[in-house]
Amino acid sequence: MMDLQFDFQSYVGRFRVWALTFRGSITLLSLVGLLFVPLSGNEYLTTVLVTAMIYTIFAASWDLLAGFAGQVSFGHAAFFGISGYFTAAFVKFAGAPWIFALIVGAGYAVLFSLIIGIPCLRLRGPYLALGTLAFSLILWNLFLSGTWLGGTEGISGLPSIGDIFGVFYIIAAFMVASLIIMRAIVDSRLGTILKAIRDDETCADASGINTTVYKLIAFMISGFFAGIAGALFVLHTTAVNPAVFQTLYSFYAIIMAAIGGLATIYGSVIGGFLFTVLSEFLRPLANASLLIFAIILIVIIRFAEHGIMNPFLERLQDLWDLIRRK
């Protein structure tokens, strides 16, 4: 549909320009810092960050659909879970190599994004949210009460795909690749059309755009990346059970994207990492941890309109500009 001309020179040039901007350098520095973490040998920290990276992909997939295409879904756990289950099934029962199972899992997530998307597309606003929620609830109940694919117990005992440090790099690669691809989509012509649909669907209609088809495309792309996240999650934890369909996970994705900043790619990273680190941080408080977590969530959502880090980041940006001018 879109011309994909690959002009290597200009990409290198543009990359260099970007790397020198505030956003670019922070991103690169963080990435480098991230890659050093496993080398410290700290298993706990590595595991926490692996979870953070998986959640980041998940949050970004939701943000793509909601922040960029304007379709707010409350049932994203459905794609996460479906992919998780099929990935696990393919590894455990078909003995497939994990990378193959992951592709299959994500593929099933895309299929379900169509199954869920097509009926839900005619719904607007809160009704779309509820429709997607209802679908995820049905899936949850189905897998909880059904006897297939392990029932309440789920599937467990998947072969590990490596030690935690190896897994870290694999997942980091997936995260970086996913974010780059999503960034490219959002900046492309397709992205412009999706943003137009988000801004004013009637107007997009009046501009000759077949909004239904494009909304479905957004659903599929979003489902795909949610599927990637789900597959990685299951491969990392070596098990899957119906809890993966919980509405709580759907809301985690929303919260992560929201606190990082909607309709940004970097926001999902900020939100994903902040959220994961925060919940880990509170864990030692045992009983009170979830309670405090809930309170913090309320406070964040209440006060963080455009992403909690934005004022902070803006100050840093000014500082950076100042330095570079010198």
């Binding site: 707010v72 409350f74 009926p119 839900c120 719904l123 607007r124 606003g125 809160p126 009704y127 949210a129 509820l130 429709g131 929620l133 209802a134 679908f135 609830l137 049905i138 109940n141 009460s145 509405t247 709580l248 809301f251 929303i254 919260i255 929201a258 009983n287 009170a288 979830l290 309670l291 977590f293 809930a294 309170i295 969530l297 309320i298 959502i301 209440r302 309109e305």
Partner: protein
């Protein structure tokens, strides 16, 4: 058998009506999807459970209702009103609030399931069917309350303001109605209704930290079925669903009746999003 189904269905319908009425009202008047609605049920039930040993049921109920109405007011002022520009913001923050109450109850109490003794003890036999006497309390209480609230909305001055705001928020502001007050009152009425549901239904039943979500789902489902923002819709929808659930419970099995609310939501959204009696345009 049929009498059993009818009696249980009526009780279920009464419960659903109390649950859905407030939820639907808050959405119809203020466009607010209050995901902490189920948590209001939860907290009322727990407050009653915690205070019964000290003051007996009657006062415990009053304390519980006062607590939930107060919580409703604070929720409106602190969380809903500041975020009214962002619909998703309200949804997220009320969800977080529901999550908070679940953890709160777990923390202050314990994560276990508990039983509240019915305040109308014993059973009654009517038409050859024996059922808990508490049911009568629920039916009578629900009837009185729903009638009162409906009368209030239709006849009182505040009720008129509420109806005005639900028809056109901006226009109501223009004619000098304090929409803020109206919304807060609506949220408080909603809390009162769901609080009463807890007062009348929780005794003789089990409570646990996670039950809030179930009641939220039920309120949602009936509201979608009957029509978001429609009072008669919520009541009619409540009873239809109540009897449907009862039928399924007795004739097929309770495992299936749990998914009824979800299926209803899905089917309604796909077939008739405005619900049975809802207004044609969706917010």
């Amino acid at each position: 058998m049929i009498e059993e189904i009818l009696i249980y269905g009526t009780v279920q319908g009464a419960l659903l009506a109390l649950l859905a009425l407030g939820f639907s009202l808050v959405y119809g008047v203020g466009g607010i999807l209050n995901l902490s609605h189920g948590a209001f049920f939860l907290i009322t039930a727990y407050v009653i459970y915690w205070t019964i040993p000290f003051v007996g049921f009657g006062i415990a109920a009053v304390i519980g209702l006062a607590a939930v109405v107060g919580i409703g007011a604070v929720t409106y002022l602190g969380l809903m009103k500041p975020l009214q520009e962002s619909h998703i913001g309200i949804v997220l923050v009320t969800f977080a609030l529901a999550f908070f109450f679940e953890q709160f109850v777990k923390f202050v109490g314990d994560p276990k399931t508990h039983y509240i003794v019915p305040f109308v003890p014993g059973t009654i036999t009517f038409l050859g069917i024996t059922f808990p006497a508490q049911f009568i309390a629920l039916l009578v209480g629900a009837f009185i309350l729903v009638t009162l609230v409906t009368l209030f909305i239709n006849k009182s001055t505040i009720g008129k303001s509420i109806r005005a705001v639900s028809q056109d928020f901006e226009a109501a502001k223009l004619v000098g109605i304090n929409t803020d007050m109206v919304l807060m009152t609506t949220v408080m009425i909603s809390a009162l209704l769901v609080g009463f549901a807890a007062v009348l239904y929780a005794p003789g039943n089990f409570i646990a930290p996670r039950i809030g979500w179930r009641y939220l789902l039920l309120a949602f489902s009936v509201t979608i079925f009957g029509g978001m923002g429609s009072i008669p819709g919520s009541i009619v929808g409540a009873f239809i669903m109540g009897y449907a659930t009862s039928f399924t419970d007795f004739l097929i099995g309770p495992e299936f009746s749990v998914i009824i609310p979800i299926v209803v939501i899905l089917v309604m959204l796909l077939v008739r999003p405005q619900g049975l009696l809802g207004k044609k345009e969706l917010r």
